[in-house]
Homo-oligomer: 324 residues x 2
């Protein structure tokens, strides 16, 4: 952990103890000994509920960190009272109900009771910080930290600032997640559904289309993805993959070779402005070449070795179930 | 290997020795001791070229199978003469130039010289069997077996029959790939780009859009996919994932919860017929429930354990390069 950027210990107040709250609690408590967690939830059986649910999450990540130890050392505290939970927090992380009304009423209360230096993070999957912050005194303090579920397993965290978020706040948020060896990615601006889900839903739309057209069944479609893009994109994302696929000419050469098929598929998938013609290409080609250069820092041999290891770790499931 | 369905040894004639041909050669020769391979290519330096390139592919899959052994035992033969290469073949697998003219002129020659029982497979990424077979006597003999590159690493093979392909031919093709522990998936009909690439290009289109709109850079987009959908879809494809994500109510409950966001993203991604309104849902929900039932045969705990193993096998790369 970057102690120059974050206090030691770092105190995280979690608002809401549903599956995302529990998952984050386990992550914070097991990935750094310097983190303390306070869980706020109004449910009357909070202690019994946490005793029943949290150990399963902790056990996934650590063989030695146990709930009784966390509670007796007060690295973990539970509270039905918001001011108590946030009053000494360095980070307040919210995973409450997904309604603007709830979030808009919550944050001014948090702002009143939390220290002036505390970071405010929302785990929302769709309500931008600029909308949640409506009634806050300092609207620029709130940033979306959108996990890919469950966050104690999946590395991605999408950081989505509002137009007024100060760079220092983003930097401190980054520093925390990098210290926990997660994969924070900063979006440049708010967009419907953020990025990961937008990409997934674009593929899902085509998946629904192919099932509806009777080209494949849902289980066959899943088997296709599990045995192609899943492992490939675990090792190298789509731009990196196609940049490598183009050989020495990179992404540009890849599109020279198979651009016709890509275009034909896009046209069948419905028109959007950029999908027509060639206008979109130059920026994407240039950016890929600038960011990755000719090599992407991963040789084909390394890619293949990693892919083999990933498939071996995944284990069974190579052949669609009904054909076994 | 299902000896009732395939001869022993099974003789595979590979037409074309580019990277896909080499990859398939290594796969056939290392995954079953009962397979013999003949490589046909007109390049004058065929022997030197194979001696230079094939050992690297073989070494990826086997520590004991070497090119000198394969050549001296005649499990591998090389030929610049098509009739010689295919005359005793049980399977003829083509990965030549991607033009209809090449394929249409090749297959009648193969048909003339190959045994009557031989299976004819094309590795094409886009030219349907019904078009390739134009000049064949028996057009129903040809089937597309589309790999996801490189096939000696990636398990998927898309089997794309023409409207006249007999079921027995599909069955024998399936039997071969299952014997090699690959993941063959049968498409119900020919479609532009087949399925894996159509899905990948749908996501790529949205990726290009997000880069062009300045929401993320290409490397950030890759990092997002590598740390979310990549590992998730390695373990459970999109329908299976969302069916699990909906808890007891399955895919139906998932869409009740987040369908509004999905629809909002789809609308921004451009309209296609099925994407409007609710009409598409019933078939996809019903099929998912029929195929997977309530459990999908994978518990959340198993999914998470497999995902952890996959991420560990993948290793480094959690944090976008420029932030390390």
């Amino acid at each position: 952990m970057s102690v120059d950027k974050l206090p030691k210990p770092t105190r995280v107040a979690l608002i809401g103890s549903g599956t995302i709250g529990l998952s984050f609690a386990a992550l914070h408590l097991t990935q750094s000994a310097d983190v303390e967690v306070a869980i706020y939830d109004t449910r009357p059986d909070l202690k019994e509920y946490i005793e029943e649910t949290l150990p399963g999450y902790l056990a996934t990540l650590s063989a030695t960190i146990t709930l009784p130890d966390l509670l007796s050392s007060r690295r973990l505290t539970l509270s039905p009272d918001l001011p108590t939970a946030v009053s000494t927090a360095d980070i307040v992380q919210e995973q409450g109900p997904e309604t603007p009304a709830f979030k808009q009423s919550l944050w001014p209360q948090v702002e009143t009771h939390a220290p002036a230096h505390a970071l405010f993070w929302s785990s929302t999957s769709g309500i931008p910080a600029s909308i949640q912050a409506l009634h806050m005194h300092d609207k620029s303090r709130l940033i979306v930290v959108h996990p890919y579920n469950p966050p104690h397993i999946m590395p991605l965290l999408e950081l989505v600032p509002s137009p007024t978020t100060p760079p220092a706040l983003i930097e401190r948020t980054f520093a925390y997640w990098k210290a926990l060896e997660r994969a924070p990615v900063l979006l440049k601006r708010e967009t419907t559904g953020f990025v990961a889900n937008r990409l997934a839903y674009a593929l899902l739309r085509e998946a629904v289309h192919l099932v509806q057209e009777g080209v494949v069944g849902v289980d066959e479609l899943d088997a296709i993805v599990e045995n192609s893009m899943g492992p490939r994109w675990t090792v190298a994302g789509p731009f990196k993959s196609y940049h490598m696929g183009g050989g020495e000419g990179g992404l540009r050469a890849f599109f020279e070779k198979i651009g016709g098929t890509v275009q034909a598929c896009w046209e069948e998938q419905g028109e959007v402005g950029f999908g027509k013609g060639e206008g979109w290409k130059e920026r994407v080609f240039r950016e890929t070449e600038e960011v990755y250069g000719p090599s992407v820092g991963l040789s084909v041999r390394e890619r293949d070795e990693k892919t083999k290891a990933v498939l071996k770790a995944r284990g069974e499931g190579l052949v669609p179930k009904k054909d076994r």
